[in-house]
Amino acid sequence: MTTLKVNGQEHQIAAEGDTPLLYVLRDELKLNAAKFGCGLGQCGACTVIVDGKAVLSCVTPLLLVEGKQVTTLEGLGTVQAPAPIQRAFMEEQAAQCGYCIAGMMMRAQALLQRNSKPTDAEIRGELALHLCRCGTHTRILRAVRRAAHLMDTAELSPANQESVR
C-alpha cells in the first residue's frame, strides 16, 4: 500500500509502485482530468501539480510521489465554484476538443502560483512542452493572462464577472 495525498485527501493505493501516477489517478481514484496522451512525457496532457510543481504524471511512478501533495484539475474548483484558471478558460472559450486543456491548465496554474504576473514570453516558455492539435493556442495564452488577472484580483465578486468575450 502506498499513501497518496490527492486534492487534500489521503488515499491508500494498492497499485504496484512502478505504476505511473496517471493510472493511479484515473483508474484507482477515478479522476478524469489528467489525460493519457503519449505515455512518453512528450505532450503534457497528463500534467498535474506535485508539491507546487507541474509534473508529467504519465512518466512519474507512484513510489516517487508517496507522501507528497498531488493536485489535479478537480482539486482546483468545480463548475459551480470554478477556480480563477477554470473561470478564465471558460470565459475565453479556450478549447475545441479540450483534450489537452486540463494539462495546460495545471502547468499554467503552477506558473501563476510562483509568478503572478508572467510575461507573454514566460507563459509561452512554460507551455513549450504542451501540444494542442485543434489550434486553440492563442485562446489558451489569453486564458492564462486572464487567469493571472483574476488571481490578482481574487476578491472580485461574481457580480462583477465580465461576460464572455
Binding site: A15, E16, T19, P20, Y23, R26, D27, K30, L31, N32, A33, K35, F36, G37, C38, G39, L40, Q42, C43, A45, T72, L73, E74, G77, T78, V79, P82, Q86, F89, M90, Q93, A95, Q96, C97, G98, Y99, C100, I101, A102, M105, I123, R124, G125, L127, A128, H130, L131, C132, R133, C134, G135, T136, H137, T138, R139, L141, V164, R165
Partner: protein, 741 residues
C-alpha cells in the same frame, strides 16, 4: 448545461432512465421508414422526415433535439441547441441535444466535409420551426381561436386574452410524429434572440473541471482494460506467439488472438500495458511490407497507374497567352495526430453488441462492425462519445472494432481499449500524399489567358462501410480484404476537391489522376484534397501576379466574379492593412490567399505576416487576419474558434509535418519523430472577421481555412525571401536551402 451525458447513456443502457421512457412513449424511432418524404426537403430531413426524429417534447415539457452528427470539438452541439431554441421559442438552457447514436438518432452518415451545420443544422432549423407551427395549430384548435391571434414564448402558446398552453400539454397523441413539409415558417433573422449570439459552449465547463467528457473517461461497472499488440508493419504475419507466460501475469484476464489480431485484457490499466509489452516481446512477425522510397514519392505517385478524368475543359480561342510559367507542388503523407490516442468501450451481452466510440459515423461503423462479427446490424448499437479531436478519419473506427472483437471473446464484461501513442501514429490512416502540376499563361493585359492544372492523388476516404476498412477485420484469421478505393465524386470531390479554380479563366483544363493503389494506409483528413489544391492554386496565383507585375490581392480580384468571394477578399485585405506596393519589415513577408471550400461551402481569405530567420531558415507566422462568410452565423465565437484553429493547424501541417517511413515501417511514431506546432511558434495574433449573411443557408466552415492558410504562409515566405517553395512541408531546412541556393 453540463449534463454528464455518459451517465445518461449508462442509464439508458440499463433501461431505467428518463430518456428511454420518453422515447418509447414517443413511439417513433429515427430509423422508421417514411411513406414518401416531401420533395425539396433539406437533405437530412429527406432521409429522416419525421419531425420527432429531430425534436421531441415530453408531456412534462422536456425538449430534446437530436442530431445524427458527432460532436468532435467543433462546438456544433451548442449551435444546434441555439437553432432549436430560437425556432421553438424556448430558452436556450431549457433543451438538450442528443448526438449520434444508432438507437436514438437519424442516420446522417459521417460527420465530415463541413456538413454538420449544412445538413443537420438545417434539418433542426426546419424541424423546430415546423414543430412550433404544429404547436400553434394544436393550441388554436383547443382554444378555438384563430392561429394568427396566438404567439409563442418561453415554451408555451399564449392567447391574446392571456390563456396559456405549455408545449408539454400540447404534444399528446403523437402530434409531432408527422413528416416534414417543404415549407417552414422560419423566424425573421431580425427577431433572433439566441441565434447569432456567442453563447458559451455547453461542453467546456466539464472539460475544464475534470468532468466526464470523453470516451476515455468511461468507467462501466466491471470494466476491464485491453491493449493491442499491432504488427510491426503493414501486412506482417504473426508466425509465433507463446502466450503462456503473459497469461499468468498479474491481473491478466485473457490474451485474445485471432490470426494477426493480438490483444491482452487485464483488470487494471497499467497491468494491461505491462502485459502488452510482454506480449509484444514474445510475438514473432514476418514482415512483408514494401513501402515506397520517401524521397522519390512525387515521381512514384505520378508513375503509378491512374484513372484520369478531365474535370474542367473551357476554351476561348480568341484569348491567347503570351508569357507562360509552370510549376509542380507536392504534399507528403500527413498525420491527423490526435492528442488523445483512439479509445473505445464495447460490451457483448445477451447476443447484442454495444460500442461507445468517437467514430465520426455511428451508422457506417455499425454496419462495418456487424459485418466483421457476422452479426445482424440490428444487434449492434454504436453510440458516439467524444474523444480527442480527430480532424478526419483517425484510429477511432479501428479502436471501436478492436473493442468489439475483444468484447465478443469476453461476454458481459465491458472492455475498454486504449491505443498507445505509437499505435495511433503508425496505424492511423494518413492524409494522402499529392502532386499537382500547373501551367498558365498571361495575355497582353496581364490576365490569365490559359490555365492547366493536374492533380495526382489516392482517394481521400477509406472510411468503413465495409468491414475490410477496419484493421481488426484485416488482421483476424478470416481476414476481410480492404475494399477497392473509389474516388469521391464531384462537386465535392476528394483528390480533386477544389481542383477546379473559382477564378474565371477563358481557357482552362483540369485533370484528375486518381491513383487506386495505396502503398501507405490513407483516408480522410480535414479538407481532403482541398488543402493541397488550394495551396497549389493560390501559390501559383501569386507566381502569376508577380509575372504580371500586379499586387496579389488586386490580381485575384481581377479574375473573380463571385460577389461574396470578392467581399471576403476585400475584408481580409482591409483588416490586415494590405496596401498595394507595401514593403514588409526586414526578413518578413506578407502573403494572401483565398478559397471557397469545395467551391460550394464557406468562403475564406487569409492574410499573413511571416518572419524568416535567414540564418536558420526557420519561418514563424507572426500574425494572420482572416475573413469568412459561412452564410447565416449561429455562434460567431464558435465560428471564429474554428477558423483560428484551422489557421494554426494548417500552419503546423505547412511548416513542419511529414509522415516518415523506411522500406517496411512507419518511422514517425511519436511527437519527437512527428513534430507539430509548439507555443514558441504561435503567432502574436489571429483576427477573424465574419461576414454574416442573415437568412442565407449555413455554409460549412470547419475546413475552409486549411488551404488558404497554407498558401498565405507560402506566399509570405516567398515575399520575405524571394524564393518560392513548392514542396510541403515548408521546413526550416528547405527554406534554408532555398535561401542559400
Amino acid at each position: 448545461m453540463n449534463a454528464p451525458i455518459i451517465l445518461d447513456r449508462r442509464r439508458v443502457l440499463a433501461g431505467s432512465g428518463a430518456l428511454i421512457v420518453s422515447f418509447s412513449l414517443g413511439g417513433a424511432f429515427a430509423q422508421e421508414k417514411p411513406a414518401a418524404p416531401a420533395p425539396n426537403l433539406p437533405p437530412s430531413l429527406k432521409t429522416a422526415p419525421f419531425l420527432d426524429s429531430w425534436i421531441r417534447i415530453d408531456a412534462n415539457g422536456t425538449i430534446t433535439a437530436f442530431t445524427g452528427k458527432a460532436e468532435l470539438g467543433q462546438g456544433f452541439k451548442t449551435a444546434f441547441q441555439q437553432i432549436a431554441a430560437e425556432q421553438l421559442d424556448v430558452p436556450f438552457a431549457s433543451l438538450q441535444v442528443v448526438t449520434a447514436d444508432t438507437a436514438l438518432t437519424a442516420n446522417e452518415g459521417y460527420t465530415s466535409g463541413s456538413h454538420s451545420m449544412q445538413d443537420s443544422g438545417t434539418a433542426i432549423l426546419h424541424a423546430a420551426a415546423q414543430v412550433r407551427a404544429l404547436l400553434l395549430g394544436e393550441a388554436a384548435k383547443r382554444l378555438e381561436l384563430p392561429v394568427e391571434t396566438l404567439r409563442t414564448e418561453n415554451g408555451a402558446v399564449i392567447a391574446a386574452d392571456g390563456r396559456r398552453l405549455g408545449y408539454g400539454e400540447l404534444v399528446a397523441n403523437d402530434v409531432l410524429h408527422l413528416q416534414a413539409q417543404p415549407d417552414s415558417p422560419l423566424k425573421d433573422p431580425a427577431t433572433f434572440k439566441v441565434m447569432g449570439e456567442s453563447v458559451p459552449r455547453v461542453d467546456i465547463p466539464a472539460k475544464v473541471t475534470g468532468g466526464a467528457a470523453y470516451v476515455q473517461d468511461m468507467r462501466l461497472p466491471g470494466m476491464v482494460h485491453a491493449r493491442l499488440v499491432r504488427p510491426p508493419s503493414y501486412g506482417a504475419q504473426l508466425i509465433e506467439c507463446d502466450v503462456a507466460a503473459v497469461e499468468t501475469m498479474p491481473g491478466v484476464v485473457k490474451v485474445v488472438r485471432d490470426g494477426n489480431f493480438l490483444a491482452v485484457v487485464a483488470t487494471r490499466e497499467f497491468q494491461a500495458i505491462k502485459a502488452m509489452d510482454a506480449l509484444a516481446g514474445v510475438a514473432k512477425w514476418q514482415e512483408n511490407a514494401q513501402l515506397p522510397k520517401q524521397d522519390e514519392l512525387p515521381s512514384m505517385l505520378m508513375a503509378m497507374p491512374s484513372r484520369d478524368s478531365i474535370i474542367l475543359q473551357k476554351s476561348d480561342p480568341k484569348v491567347v497567352g503570351q508569357k507562360a510559367i509552370e510549376a509542380t507542388y507536392t504534399r507528403p503523407y500527413q498525420s491527423h495526430g490526435s492528442i488523445g490516442p483512439s479509445c473505445a468501450v464495447a460490451q457483448f451481452a445477451d447476443g447484442k453488441m454495444t460500442v461507445w466510440s468517437h467514430t465520426q459515423g455511428v451508422y457506417p461503423d455499425r454496419q462495418a462492425i456487424a459485418e466483421m462479427l457476422r452479426m445482424p446490424p440490428a444487434d449492434v448499437r454504436v453510440i458516439h462519445v467524444e474523444g480527442s479531436g480527430c480532424y478526419g478519419h483517425n484510429g477511432a473506427d479501428d479502436a471501436a472494432a478492436d473493442a468489439a472483437l475483444i468484447a465478443r471473446a469476453l461476454p458481459d464484461s465491458p472492455v475498454r481499449v486504449q491505443w498507445m501513442r505509437e499505435q495511433e501514429h503508425a496505424w492511423e490512416p494518413f492524409g494522402p500524399a499529392m502532386v499537382t502540376k500547373l501551367k498558365a499563361s498571361l495575355d497582353g493585359h496581364g490576365k490569365v489567358a490559359d490555365w492547366h492544372f493536374e492533380v495526382w492523388s489516392n482517394t481521400h476516404s477509406m472510411r468503413p462501410g465495409g468491414a475490410g476498412c477496419l484493421l481488426a477485420a484485416q488482421h483476424m484469421a478470416q481476414a476481410m480484404p480492404v475494399p477497392p478505393a473509389k474516388p469521391i465524386p464531384l462537386p465535392e470531390g476528394g483528390g480533386d476537391r477544389n481542383a477546379i479554380p473559382i477564378y474565371s479563366f477563358p481557357n482552362a483544363q483540369v485533370v484528375h489522376h486518381f491513383i487506386p493503389d495505396m502503398p501507405v494506409r490513407i483516408s480522410a483528413m480535414r479538407a481532403l484534397g482541398a488543402y493541397h489544391n488550394v495551396f497549389s492554386i493560390e501559390s501559383f496565383m501569386d507566381e502569376l501576379a508577380a509575372l504580371a507585375g500586379r499586387d496579389p490581392v488586386e490580381f485575384r480580384l481581377k479574375h473573380l466574379d463571385d460577389a461574396r468571394g470578392r467581399d471576403v477578399i476585400a475584408k481580409a485585405a482591409e483588416g490586415f492593412g494590405w496596401l498595394r506596393g507595401q514593403t514588409p519589415p526586414r526578413d518578413r513577408g506578407f502573403g494572401f490567399a483565398f478559397a471557397r471550400y469545395k467551391n460550394l461551402a464557406a468562403y475564406c481569405a487569409v492574410a499573413s505576416e511571416v518572419e524568416v530567420n535567414r540564418e536558420t531558415g526557420r519561418a514563424r507566422l507572426v500574425r494572420a487576419v482572416a475573413a469568412v462568410d459561412s452564410g447565416q452565423v449561429v455562434n460567431p465565437d464558435g465560428l471564429i474558434n474554428q477558423i483560428e484553429g484551422a489557421i494554426l493547424q494548417s500552419t503546423s501541417w505547412t511548416l513542419y509535418e511529414s509522415v516518415s517511413f523506411d522500406d517496411k515501417r512507419i518511422t514517425s511514431i511519436d511527437w519527437q519523430t512527428y513534430p507539430i506546432l509548439r507555443f514558441d511558434a504561435v503567432p502574436d495574433s489571429i483576427h477573424v472577421h465574419i461576414i454574416n449573411r442573415p437568412g442565407l443557408p449555413f455554409l460549412g466552415s470547419g475546413e475552409t481555412g486549411q488551404g488558404p492558410a497554407a498558401a498565405s504562409i507560402a506566399n509570405a515566405i516567398a515575399n520575405a525571401t524571394g524564393k518560392r517553395l513548392r514542396d510541403l512541408p515548408l521546413s526550416r531546412k528547405r527554406i534554408k536551402d532555398a535561401i542559400d541556393a
